[in-house]
Amino acid sequence: MAEQSATSSIGDSVPKVGEVAVGEDLEFQRRWWQFERAIWTFFLLVLLADLLGLFGRGWLAKAKRTDSAQTVTLDYERIERASTPSIMTFHFKPAAIRNGRIALYVSEDLIKSLGAQRISPQPLTSAMGDNGILYTFPVTTTPATAEIELEPSFPGPHHFRVQVSGGQSIDASVFVVP
């Protein structure tokens, strides 16, 4: 094969343009230009989706939930990015305060799947049980807020539950993109 390639003329095997053996395939190239136009349109749509927050960190990714008993409002990102920190914020209402304290339950999914890194302010107590952790915060006045820093490790949908003592539970989902 190598010997044949070395001795045969280039023009024997390669498509010619006029008298020059080029190997041009203009039909393929025309289809490729069409593909290029499609892929650049796709890239533009990806950037637009990113700007809007479809892949997290944007307007579409932000979510707000309030429990029916009006004890807490939860600000979080319904779309997160793997291995990227984000903040989940709890805005407590006056109804959440009982005996100068707020008791906040967060499900285990929030701790493990969504990778809760730290909670601020530091809770007075943390008690495990009921597939989650119950944090207790001393409170003087409202509005009061608490923040949990998340850093999910694995892509995919993750469900979690939070509840303030005396209120209704909030069940929500976060989709983590790679």
């Binding site: 006029g18 020059v20 080029v22 395939d25 203009l26 393929f28 190239q29 025309r30 290029e36 892929i39």
Partner: protein, 148 residues
């Protein structure tokens, strides 16, 4: 495992982006093109190795990319169609002295690019060019008229 997966995704993502960018030769690579090479390479590295910057992880990523490159080279040698998809095909820019406007537009070539190639081929007048071919590696081959 994640590193290898990221390396595979990064390799094909870079491959498709570089492929759909206009073809330019290494010899014609300008500072403008170098910005792309270094910036895109740097960004892909970040997601490939992630927080694990150990020698083991980086070695695995490099080996994964090397194997992918070898596999695509093998596929190109076996299938001309895959070769055309990955590298493109040569294109005629000037045929019998006539400029092929469709190719010029499609490849976003400027007459200056052909003039530079003509100078390299010791052709000083554009009308002396019989054929100009944009090769798969981005080099422009110039065939002067026999009477030039």
């Amino acid at each position: 495992m994640a590193t290898i997966l990221h390396a595979v995704v990064g390799y094909f993502l870079l491959l498709i982006i570089v492929r759909v960018l206009a073809r330019r030769a290494g010899s014609q690579m300008t500072l403008f093109d170098f910005v792309l090479v270094f910036l895109m390479g740097g960004i892909i590295i970040l997601s490939t190795v992630g927080n694990d910057r150990s020698v083991t992880n980086c070695t695995c990523a490099v080996i994964a990319v090397a194997l992918l490159h070898r596999a695509t080279s093998w596929a190109k040698s076996k299938s001309p169609r895959i070769g055309a998809i990955l590298d493109g095909t040569p294109l005629t820019i000037i045929k019998n002295g006539e400029w092929q406007q469709e190719v010029l537009r499609g490849m976003k070539l400027r007459p200056e690019d052909i003039e530079a190639a003509a100078r390299s081929a010791n052709v000083t007048r554009m009308q002396d060019i019989d054929y100009a071919i944009l090769e798969r590696n981005g080099r422009i081959s110039i065939f002067p008229r026999e009477d030039a």
